[in-house]
Each structure stands twice: as C-alpha cells, then as structure tokens.
C-alpha cells in the first residue's frame, strides 16, 4: 500500500501540533496562515479566487471536482488546493496556462455528461424575451389570466402577436429534437383570446400594479407597435403618455399593413384598449412636421419617443416604374384599410417575397383578381415570408415564380401597364445576410403579361418631420440614429425605436424596441446618467454572463432590467422523449378564403392548447444564474465541447418529495449534499452509488427522500453547486393548531409522512428547522424563477448577495467577509 500519490509528492510537516503559522507565496503574494489550513483557505484570505465545485467550507475537503488544482513549485503534479495543506515556503501559482487548460478540460468533461440546459432557447430567440416556459405552464393548468399577466411582463399584446408574429421562438425549440417544436405563438394567442373579452369590461391583466403618477409626460409619435408598446410600459411606470398618430386610427402597420384575414380588427381594437384604459391619450390624423414639430412636443413634454415606422416603399429602380397600374404594396393595403376598397387588376403580379408581398398577393386574390403571380428573385428557401404564409398563398391560387427579377415595366400608349419584362436568375455566392446572391442569367429575358404590378421590395422610414439639427441624425440606411442600448438620439430628450430605427422589420422587434425604450425613458426621467447606463449595458452584454451578475448588484434596478442576459450556450447535450405531436391550427378552407377577409386561423380548441402547452420540456435549469458549473463554464469558455457524441446519462428526475426536487442528470457527483447531509444534518439521505462512469449520488434503493430520514431542511439544495437539487416554493410556513378544538387524539402525528409532528407535553407542532428556512427567501419564489435579473437581483438583491457571498461568489468581497467564511469552516457550524 503506498501513500496516495498526492501526499507523497509534497513534503508535509507533521509535528503533531496544530499551533503556529506558516508563510507561503500565492501568485507572488506573501500569505501567512494558520498551520493546517489548506492552500485554498490561505488563498481566500488574500482574495485569490480558486474555482471549486465540490468545496464546502463547513466540511472536510473532498477533492472530487479537481477544479481547485494549482501549481506548487517542486511538485510535478497539479495539486488540489482544497486538500493540500499550506506548508512553509510553498510557492503556489493558481492561474498558470497549464492550470487553466486542465481546468477547462475538466469542465468539458463535466459538461459532456451534464444533460441539462441553462436557458430556454425560445426565450433567448424572442426579441421581447417573453417567459415562455412559465406562461405555457399557466396554459397547461388553465390559468389564462395569470398567464397573460406573466406574458405582459415583456410583451403587451399577446393576441396580436399570436397572429402576426414570425415566431423566432419556435425555430430553436428543443422539442423538435424528438418531434415538432411547441406551437408557442398559437398557444399565447389562444391564451390571450380566452381573456380578451373579459378584460374589456373587467380588470386589466397587468404584470404589476401601475406605479403612482410620476408627474412626467412623454409624447409618443406614431401609434404603431413600437409606440403602443412604449406607451404601455411608460404608463406602468406612472408617466403620462400621449400618442400622436398621422393616420385616422391607431395601430400603424398592424392596421394599415396587415390584412384583416390575418389580424381581425376587433382583436386589434380590444387589445389596444389596454393601453387606453391604462390612461394613455391619443390624437389621430396629425403628422409630425406638418401639424406639429418636435420642438412643439419638447416644449410641452419631458421626453419624446419617435415610433415613426417605415411606410415609404423602396423603388424598383427600373424603367416604367411610374406607369399606371404600378402600385406599392403598402399603398395598396393602406388604401383598402382606409377606404374599404382598392382597385385590383385582372392579372396581377407582385414583386417580392416577404410578408408584405404575401399580404398583397392574397389580398388581390380576395379582391377578385383572375390571376396573381408572385415574382421573387431568389428561391423559395430564401423567401423572408414565413413558410406557412407562402403555402397558404399557394393554396389560395397564387402562382409563385422564383429566381426571376424585373427588368422593365411594359406599358401601352396610355402609360398603362401591359406586362413586365423579367430576367431569370441563378444563385451565386452567399452575401452578407448569408443568403445566396441571385445572379442574372444573360439572355434569359421574358415577359409576364399583367395589368397591375404591386411592388413589395421593402420600405424605409419617412423622416421628413425630423431634422439632424433637432438632434435626430440619420444613418446611411435612411433610419434614425440612436444609442444602441438606450435608444436615445443625440437630443437626450428624444428617443426612437421600431421600424424607423430598424428599417422595415417584424412587429415583435418593434414591440421589443418600444418596451426597452420605455424603460430607458423611465431611467432618463428619473435622472440616471444615460451615457453611464449605455456604457454599462454595452459592457454587460459583451462580458461573460457571470461577471455581469456580480456587477449587476450595483446597478439601479431600472438599468438592471434593461440589461439583456446574453444567452448561455454551454455546449451540452440532451436526450428527450415523450413524443406526441402538437395539434395543427384549424383553418378556413382555401375555397372559403378566396373571397373572404375573415380570419384564416380559427384558434386552437382548449383541450389541444392545454395539451400542446404541457408538451414543453421545461428545458431550462432552475439554477440558471446561480449555478457554479455554468459560471466556470463561461469563465473558461467551454462553448464547444470536444467530447460530444459520447454516452450521456439520462436518469429520471425525482419530484416525490414535496419540497426537494432532484434532477440527477444535472448532478456532477461533487458529494456536497452527501457530506452535508451526513455530517451537518445527521440524516445521511444520500450516497454515491455505482462505479465508474455510472457513479451517481442517490438515496438508498432510490427511495423517496421522505422515506430515508430526510428532515426537509433543504441544506442539500442550498449546497448543490448546480441545479441537481432544488427546492419547491413552500406556500405555507407552518400549520397552526386550534387548541380549543384539538382533542389530542394524536392521529396527525401518526400519519405525517415527514415526521414533522411530535407529541410533546404541550402537544405543540415540532417544526424542525423551518423558521430558519423561511428566512431564506432565496428559495421561496412565487414560481420557478427564470430570470435572475428581474426576479433574483432586483427583488431579492440583499438575499442573493448574502447567499452569493456565503458561497464565495462575489469576488469583490472584502477580506473580512472572506475570512468569516473560513472561520465558519474552522470552528464548525453547530
């Protein structure tokens, strides 16, 4: 039997006495610590942070995760600092290249069998970052009103977006690893529809109580998606809002660009009612630069938000464009909305492949065109319109002609359109957008006969009402120039967002802009230094997730909520099952659609919606944001894993205990729960089982915790460095006993599965450790919290900070605090 190699390699003094001190050098810094203390403890005294996953200051070292390895001069091996005693004259280096490379490898290994995800990809993909798993949970439970409240934390118009959104959230849905993605968009439409009518007269479904009136007033130019969204969130913050709209009715592109078969006008009206009922004022048919100027607004209001939209169509730039019968899709759709009718030719061609092109061609069909052809210069795959819409258009009789571009509009003597000359294209090299660039084929010209040409090749904002002298500068793409993070123009009082900043983009992007601009305006109105805010936000976005967490505690809550968390894509892997495809949306038949502007998508039946929502895999981790493995993964940049494709464990989660949830797939066998349960609690609920790769921490015979002596203290969840053990919220803190009615039969003591009741002389409730637990608000969340920023750091900052400090998380902790932790470890906690 040899000594273990580690201890054999380093000479350790064994003088039998624990007294005295030793001096050593850590990263060039001289450190004096008590004899018997480990290198890790010595390093923490001088604020040198050595990463560790399995170290628990209250317990003897385990040296299982091996992340705390350091280089010690004279030792050929890297030594685990948590179990190597500091020795006189030792020279320790904690951050050498060799150490970093080794740590990274260990993290890669850990993550290669960590079948879990940090963040839900749907939420990352959505520009507004709606809390998708949470509201799906509400739908699954039939609690639609609270679902709408949850959703409106990030998106005010679920019924509208549920009809018109291009659904970036569904693209990355992990459900499609086994079958189809969750139909997130249809589901939130269903949820919102259930509440729409009730809300008209009843209580507004708001995410928070609106703040009291602040006395500040904000003017919003343009009552489109961006402006309305800004109005909603500004009203919630208590600021007065007035919207100025050039068109006769509010809604912007929602009303004048999207046909009613996609977005019925009654739905739009009802949903916008929320904004009016919150107290936003509206003035229609007034145009910036014609009826009023920016100066007028600034004289009267504390801030201005420009949500001007992008209503000017791009020109094709070909001869004959000014012919009779050539019309832009925006004008075409707008005229229909304004007048209730629009002229449609017999043979209509639509140029373009986006949403607007689809709206134009399908409207033409409905208005009685004999033949409608869409001409698009790339292939079907590259069409910006959602594939559903293209399919539906074809069902309705629209003909697609792909890989063709207009050369010239042909006219007769009266300058009326008779046809359009087209040229065939082929796909060349990918361009900046990643799509393959169309290249003309020489000599492939041909003529498409038609009597109307509708152009839908993009729009740009009309910025006539603003001028650079007013502080509203323009970019070279003819959009408003704003600060990337605060949406502030050069005039600090003027903010802008939506299509007038983005160029013609989607509704959901405009809504996201409006929301973030509203928060930014709120910060401005409350006197925050906006350049500082912008700088901080830029840093937070660029910096790794965790350094931002440790910094965000210093942030104003208003800034904190603006800081989007960069999604965490630690390269992990999963194996999901439960196949059962979501239901399709019931639709009007193509024949019925051809003549009718009625809504095509009829809405999901309730049973299907609830089932569809329950298909969500909840593929995110409750420990997201507090997970040590995640933090180190980001710190050591484990963003692609060389060990993919190997075996990954898939073990069932254990929700049998009412308070403690276990997900073994997230377990990294650090043994902290095992040790704390054995040494501190004395219950010994856990131990490692199995050998080799299959080693896993488990309860004896995989029994539920309440059957193996668990006292529900939650210490295992508290110490777990990942999301393998987490706690359910406890709604009740304790049960009271009505002693006037109790007859001391003792039945309750007998039947309690958790042994929480005890027969005493006074027959009281014996309530183990709950008062202390109740103080730990960290674990008492209204639901499984997802957003560390808004829910953990703003509402719970003091608690989170305490908890983080206790776990050695806050790197800026002072020496006093750090050594406090060590003292605890030395003295032992009772």
């Amino acid at each position: 039997m040899s000594l273990t190699r580690e201890t054999a390699d380093v000479h350790v003094e064994h003088d039998g006495t624990a007294g005295g001190t030793v001096s050593l050098t850590i990263d060039g810094q001289a450190v004096t610590c008590r004899r018997g203390e480990t290198i890790l403890e010595a390093a923490r005294q001088v604020d040198i942070h050595i990463p560790t996953l399995c170290h628990e200051p209250r317990l003897p070292a385990a040296a299982a995760c091996r992340l705390c390895i350091v280089e010690v001069e004279g030792s050929p091996k890297l030594l685990p600092s948590c179990s190597t005693p500091a020795a006189e004259g030792m020279v320790v280096k904690t951050e050498t290249e060799r150490v970093r490379v080794t740590r990274k490898l260990y993290l890669e290994l850990l993550l290669s069998d960590h079948d879990s995800f940090c963040t839900p990809p749907c939420r990352d993909a959505c520009p507004t970052h709606i809390k998708i798993p949470q509201f799906l949970d509400y739908i699954a439970h039939g609690d639609y009103a609270n679902g709408v409240r949850k959703l409106r934390e990030d998106l005010p118009f679920p019924a509208v977006l549920g009809r018109v959104c291009p659904r970036p959230c569904e693209e990355p849905c992990r459900r499609q690893l086994v079958e189809h993605p969750i139909t997130i968009c249809w589901l939130h439409r269903f949820m919102a529809d259930q509440c729409l009518d009730d809300e008209q007269l009843g209580e507004l479904l708001l995410p928070v109580e609106p703040a009291p009136e602040s006395g500040r007033r904000v003017a919003i130019v343009g009552a489109g998606p961006a402006g309305l969204s800004a109005a909603f969130y500004l009203r919630l913050e208590g600021h007065g809002v007035k919207l100025f709209e050039a068109m006769p009715k509010p809604g912007g592109m929602l009303r004048y660009g999207i046909p009613s078969y996609r977005l019925p006008r009654d739905v739009l009206e009802k949903e916008l009612n929320v904004v009016w009922r919150l107290g936003a004022e509206l003035q229609c048919s007034v145009r910036l630069g014609v009826d009023f100027s920016l100066e007028d607004l600034l004289a009267e209001y504390d801030a201005v938000f420009l949500g001007l939209g992008a209503f000017n169509s791009n020109d094709m730039g070909i001869p004959g464009e000014d012919a009779d019968g050539v019309v832009s899709a925006i004008d075409f759709l707008g005229e229909l909305e304004l007048t209730g009718d629009v002229h449609v030719g017999r043979k209509v061609t639509v140029i373009g492949g986006g949403f607007t092109a689809m709206d134009a061609c399908r409207t033409s069909v409905r208005k009685g065109a004999d033949e409608v052809t869409v001409l698009y210069r790339r292939s079907r795959k590259e069409m910006p319109a959602h594939h559903n819409e293209v399919d539906e258009a074809e069902e309705e009789g629209v003909r697609l002609e792909l890989l063709t571009a207009p050369v010239r509009v042909l006219t007769d003597d009266s300058n009326a359109v008779v046809g359009i000359e087209m040229q065939r294209m082929e796909l060349g090299e990918p361009d900046a957008s990643g799509r393959r660039r169309p290249v003309p084929i020489e000599g492939s010209d041909y003529v498409v006969e038609c009597d109307q040409v509708i152009t839908a090749i993009g729009q740009h904002p009309n910025l006539d009402g603003t001028a650079p002298e007013q502080g509203v500068h323009r970019t070279r793409w003819r959009t408003v120039e704003v600060d990337e993070w605060t949406y502030q123009t050069k005039d600090p009082r003027v903010f802008a967002g939506g299509d007038c900043v983005l160029g013609a983009q989607t509704v959901v992007q405009a809504v996201a802009h409006g929301k973030k601009a509203a928060w930014s305006i709120d910060a401005f109105l409350r006197g925050d230094d906006m350049s500082e805010v912008s700088r901080t936000l830029a840093e937070l976005r660029a910096a790794p997730f965790y350094s931002s967490i440790s910094r965000k505690a210093d942030l104003d809550p208003r800034v904190a909520r603006m800081a989007e968390i960069p999604p965490v894509f630690l390269d992990m892997t999963t194996d999901v099952s439960r196949p059962s495809p979501p239901a399709d949306m019931p639709k009007l038949s193509p024949a019925a659609r051809r003549t009718d502007f009625g809504q095509i998508e009829l809405g999901l039946p309730e049973a299907e919606a609830r089932r569809g929502a329950s298909l969500c895999l909840d593929c995110y981790c409750p420990a997201n944001g507090t997970c040590d493995l995640q933090r180190y993964g980001i710190e050591y940049e484990v963003f692609s894993n060389r060990f993919h494709g190997g075996t990954v464990h898939s073990r069932p989660a254990d929700f049998r205990h009412d308070f403690i949830m276990r997900e073994p797939d997230r377990c990294i066998n650090c043994m902290r729960c095992v040790r704390i349960c054995r040494h501190e609690v004395g219950a010994s609920c856990y131990d490692a089982m199995g050998r080799g790769f299959d080693t896993i921490v488990a309860t004896p015979d995989d029994l539920p915790l309440q059957m193996v002596g668990c006292v529900s203290c939650g210490k295992c969840a508290e110490t777990c460095p990942t999301g393998a053990i987490t706690t359910n919220p406890r709604v009740l803190e304790s049960y009271g006993l009505d002693e006037s009615r109790c007859m001391f039969c003792g039945e309750c003591v007998e039947v309690c599965p958790y042994d929480a009741l005890e027969q005493t002389e006074v027959f009281e409730l014996a309530d183990f450790d709950r008062p202390r637990l109740a103080r730990q608000r960290l674990y008492e969340r209204p639901e499984r919290a997802l957003d560390p920023l808004r829910e953990r750091l703003t509402d719970l900052v003091p608690h989170v900070l305490d908890s983080l400090k206790g776990r050695g998380w806050v790197w800026g902790a002072t020496g006093d605090e750090a050594s406090d932790g060590c003292d605890d470890g030395e003295g032992g906690v009772d």
Binding site: T4, L105, L109, F693, T695
Partner: protein, 634 residues
C-alpha cells in the same frame, strides 16, 4: 532459555496435533493443485475421483490426497503431482484418474501419455521441478504452497509454521524486528514501496489507546488476484506474518480485508483464523506469551480502488470505498482514527520466512542488488501462464522466455504489458529490463503491479489498450472527474478508432486526456487507467496512425479494418465455407476457387475457422485491391 521461552515453545508444541496429518512428510501423497484456476477447472472433482478410486481399491489408508495451494502452472490445470515420485500430470480430468492410480500409484510407473510434452520438441517432462517454469522461480512466499493442505493448520505447523512468531515473541524486541524487516528490503509483489519499514516505525512510536494492522488481499489490478491467491494457498502464513507485523508495531487487533469476490480466500482465512484461536495462536494470550492479538476477516468491496489504503480504511469503517483526501499520518491512513499499518497479504506472508531464514537469505533471493522476490500473474500469449514468484531484479526476458517459455505457437513477441489494465505496454526491445523498482520507474511503471502479459504480434495494440481501459474505467470509484469521465471519453475515442471512425486529432485528444487522468486523479487507479493508452501511444504510435489515417489494422485483428479474401491457389473449392458464412457472402462453383464478396462480408472470420486449406487470408486495411481469379471480385 528462559521460562518464558519454554512456555512459548510448549504452547507451540501443544498447538500441533500430529494425528491430523495422516501421512508423514515425503510419504505417499497425491497433490492436486487447489489454485483458483485449477479448482475452477475441476480440481475438487479430481480430489474426489482419487479418493473414490483409492477407496474402491481399498488402498485409501496408504495415500493421502491433498488439495494443496497453488502450483503456479495455471495455464495447464488441473495439475496433479504424485509424491514421492514427483511426477506431475497437467490437465487431468476425472476420467484419467483410475489410470493414474493404476499405473503410478499402484505400479509406480509413469503414464507417458499424460505427461506434459514440449510443443516444439515433443519431449516429455515428468517432474515439475524439471520444467523451466518451475526451475526459474524462487519461492519465498509460496515455498510451502504446493505441498500443504491450506485448510490444515497441522500441515503448516509440521513444516515449521508459527515458529517465526514464537521466536519473535520469545526474543520480544519489536524494534529489532522492525530493523530486520527494514534491512530485508521487503517490497515483494504488491508490497509496500520503499519506506514500508518507516511506516512501521512511526506506528510503533505513536502514542494511542489502540493500534491496528490491516492486511489487504485486494487485487493489484483488475484480473490479477495475486494477494488473494496467496491467501488461498498459504492462509496460515499470511496470518503468521500479520501477527508478527502486529507485534512489531504494537497492534492488538488486525483485519484481513478480502474482496467479497474471492470467496475461497475468505473461507480459507476464516478457517485458518478459527484454527489459530482454537490452538491458542490468536486471542487473549498468543502462544501463552501474554501478548494479546486477534484478527478478523473482513469481506470487503470487490473493487480495485481499495488498493488505495485510504479507500480501504473508508470501506472498513463502513463507508463507500473512495480514496480520502484528508491528510494521512506518517504511518499511513488511520482506521477509526488509530495508528494503523496496512500491508498486502503477499508482503505479510514473506515476513515469517524472513524472520526464520534471516535477512541475508531474503536478500539473496533477489537478483543483483535487488532483495527478495516478487509475485506475478504471468499471462497472455506465453506457453506457460500462471502464478509465479520470481527473484526481484530478474529481467523480463527471464520471466517471459524462461518461465513462460516464450510466445505460444509461431507467434512473435510484440510487447510486454507490465501491470495489466493499470500498467504499461513496453515493446519487445525492453526484454532486458530488470524487474526492480528503479528500472520500472524509469519506464513509467509503478513499483506495485500484479501481472506480466506477453502480447504476441497477432494483437492490435490499439484494441488492447481499448479492452484494458474498458476494464479499468468500470473500476473507478467515481470521485475524481478525470477518472470518472475522462477514462470513459478516452474509451469512446478508442472505440471509434478501432471501428474505423478515428479522427485525425484523436491521438492528440487521447494524449491530452491520458496525461490529465494521470496527473489529476487522487489514487493510482485513476492514473494507472491511462497508462496502457499512454504507453501504447508512446511505443506503438504507428498502429494508431495506421488505424486513423490509413484505415487499416496492422495486426489484422480489428474487424472493421481488415478485409477477408480467399487465396485462389490454395482454395480447392470444397465449399465448406459457403454454408458457414452467416451473410452468404461467399460464392463459387464446386471445385473452383471461391470468392468473398467484400461488400457483404462482415469479417466474422467463420470461413477462416472452417477452411482446411488455410486459403482464407486477412489483409490489413478496409478494401485493398484483391484481384479475384476470374475477375468477378471487387
């Protein structure tokens, strides 16, 4: 002689019950090897067959049939030796027992037919001692193994058993005893590395209310049960060694830790312990000397990680067998917080011999400057495989070629695997390496290992590394990340290489993983697990490159990377292979050379087995240009 000495001698004498040994030493005995391999092959049935046959003939009072300890010749079991002729028969079955009784026992003649024949010269070897395998060994630990019944304490006492303990108790100076052990340089097979005696000294010097001795019979590596074999063969010698060591360090209680899989070792040790208590050799008054020492046999976890003393202590204390990182004391890790000395069974079994024969004799057992002997499982492609005890400092050549008889068949020796699944594959050019701690360390092998495996040239080194790693990674206790996860990922890379899916950077990946496993784990299991991979990468890198870059297996053994074809000149068109092929990939007209359809062939090798004309040949590589005779092949 003092009266104390007399008392002890008297106690020793009274412990011996000569009547229990029916036949005197050197008289007529049939010794059936009771080693793990021979008994697994039916040794017990042969003992019964001899007894039945002798009873049937009514001569069972003249002969004693003994199931002895291991003879070592595990590759030729079950082995039977008839004394006093000394003739030995390998591979005995119950069917030939009457013939042996008839010819050898009754008539005193040798059954030529059943003798061991040298495969090359065909020369018959009648006496075990004439076999180079036996001759080249030097037996210290196993000196008495093949002549004693391990279940019989009187056999041991008759051969001087427990005399060493008695003399130690008589002379009574533990310090001197430790000096003797230190001077002997005891560090035989699986023994403590240098500094063993200093651990004894520290334990001796420590002040404590109790001290313990732990004797471990855990395998040195997966599949090399050296210490368990010692316990099975000479259990009393282990107990005597343990008692002497306990006396030296001042321990009053000892535990023999035997993995639960070694049932026979547990049974033999428990029986031996019961006998010792019965005869006053263990207990409150050891050999009436007034010294108290008792010993228990602990049935432990069947895991190699218990080779690490801290893991063994944790297991003994009732916890999971996991190496502990809490600081150990100079005497080694503690059991129940008391000073504890832990040694392997093979080491302790050598102690009585050293005490009885002296330091000089023990030193002389080694070769060159090395002291003592080393116990090894000699395995792999050698003619004589088995459990051997060789002089410390012997060369690999002596062990492999002299004892093992060189590679089996017409194969050449390609590599020597020193240390099994936790060891290193050395190329054949290392044959002159001495089995001494210094030289082994120089080639990256630890001093403790349990087996030598001769690897012949038909073995693919990549696949060997894969199978060794597959073995050892299952043994990980799961504590250290590089061992639990790293070895598995290494295995996956190796699996991908042998199945022809290797990637260009796999060699670098393996090296990186291997080095981190070796450097970043706590115990020797984690570091040893990577050794087969790292050593094959070092010495047989070309094989890895051939697998990955050229998609061929140079040894022609990885099914995914070879091609089968039929040699048209040899093929007679007998057609035997056609129905044998499970996928119907062989076709041909009667009496015409047949052809294997390479696209359909699953490379199972069934046709090669069945072919009487050696016409099926294996080519290294996936699809070389194999020209079929009539141009039909691809």
């Amino acid at each position: 002689m003092t009266s104390r000495a007399d008392t002890i001698q008297a106690a020793l004498r009274s412990a011996f019950h000569p009547d229990a040994v029916a036949v005197r030493e050197g008289e007529s005995e049939v010794r059936v090897c009771g080693g793990a391999s021979c008994s697994g092959l039916g040794g017990r049935a042969i003992v019964d067959a001899f007894n039945d046959e002798l009873s049937r003939r009514g001569i069972h009072y003249d002969w004693r049939v003994v199931e002895t300890g291991c003879h070592g010749l595990c590759g030729h079991g079950p082995v039977v030796v008839v004394e006093p002729l000394g003739v030995f028969y390998p591979g005995v079955t119950p069917g030939v027992v009457p013939e042996i009784v008839e010819t050898t026992l009754v008539a005193g003649r040798i059954v030529e037919r059943l003798l061991y024949a040298d495969p090359e010269s065909g020369q018959k070897v009648a006496r075990l001692k004439d076999l180079a395998f036996h001759e080249g060994q030097r037996r210290v630990v196993m000196a008495l193994s093949e002549e004693m019944d391990p279940t019989c304490i009187d056999d041991y006492l008759a051969r001087g058993g427990y005399r060493a303990l008695a003399s130690v108790l008589t002379e009574g100076d533990p310090e001197t005893l430790i000096d003797v052990v230190a001077a002997s340089g005891l560090h035989g097979g699986g023994g403590p590395a240098a500094g063993g005696a200093s651990r004894w000294r520290h334990a001796r010097a420590a002040v404590a209310d109790a001290k313990y001795l732990v004797c471990s019979a855990v395998d040195a590596e997966p599949g090399a049960p050296v210490d368990a074999s010692v316990a099975v063969s000479v259990p009393h010698q282990v107990i005597e060694g343990a008692a002497i060591a306990a006396y030296a360090v001042g321990a009053s209680y000892g535990v023999v830790y035997v993995p639960s899989g070694h049932r026979r070792a547990i049974e033999r040790l428990e029986l031996a312990r019961a006998q010792c208590r019965d005869r006053g050799i263990l207990g409150a008054d050891v050999l009436a000397s007034g010294w108290r020492f008792d010993l228990d046999v602990a049935e432990g976890d069947d895991v190699v990680v218990c080779r690490d003393a801290t893991a063994l202590m944790a297991s003994l204390e009732g916890h999971r067998a996991v190496p502990q990182s809490t600081a150990t004391t100079p005497s080694g890790p503690c059991l129940w917080d008391r000073p504890t000395v832990s040694e392997s069974a093979a080491t302790l079994a050598a102690v009585p011999w050293i005490v009885a024969n002296g330091v000089a004799a023990y030193a002389a057992a080694g070769e060159g400057s090395a002291h003592g002997t080393r116990m090894l499982m000699l395995l792999g492609g050698v003619r004589h495989a088995g459990l051997v005890e060789v002089p410390e400092g012997a060369t690999l050549r002596e062990v492999i070629e002299r004892l093992g008889g060189g590679p089996r068949g017409d194969r050449g020796l390609k590599s020597i695997l020193v240390g099994g699944a936790l060891g290193s594959c050395l190329p054949a050019s290392f044959l002159d390496l001495h089995l001494s701690a210094e030289e082994l360390r120089a080639v990256g092998v630890g001093p403790e290992f349990g087996s030598l495996v001769a690897v012949d040239d038909g073995t693919c080194m990549v696949d060997l590394a894969r199978s060794l790693l597959a073995h050892s990674q299952r043994e990980s206790c799961g504590k250290c990340v590089p061992c639990r996860l790293g070895t598995r990922r290494m295995l996956e890379v190796l699996e991908r290489i042998v199945s022809g899916q290797g990637r260009e950077d796999d060699i670098d990946l393996l090296e990186e993983l291997g080095q981190h496993c070796a450097a970043g784990t706590q115990c020797d299991l984690g570091s040893g697990a990577a050794d087969p991979v790292l050593s094959t990468l070092r010495f047989f890198r070309d094989e890895y490159e051939a697998h990955i870059l050229e998609k061929r297996c140079p040894a022609g053994s990885c099914p995914a990377l070879v091609t089968f074809s039929i040699d048209a000149e040899r093929c007679t068109g007998c057609g035997d292979c056609v129905p044998t092929c499970p996928v119907g990939a062989i076709e041909g007209r009667p009496d015409q050379p047949h052809v294997i359809d390479i696209g359909g062939c699953r490379r199972c090798g069934a046709c090669r087995e069945v072919c009487r004309f050696d016409a099926v040949t294996v080519h290294s590589g996936i699809a070389p240009a194999v020209a079929a005779p009539d141009g039909r092949g691809r």
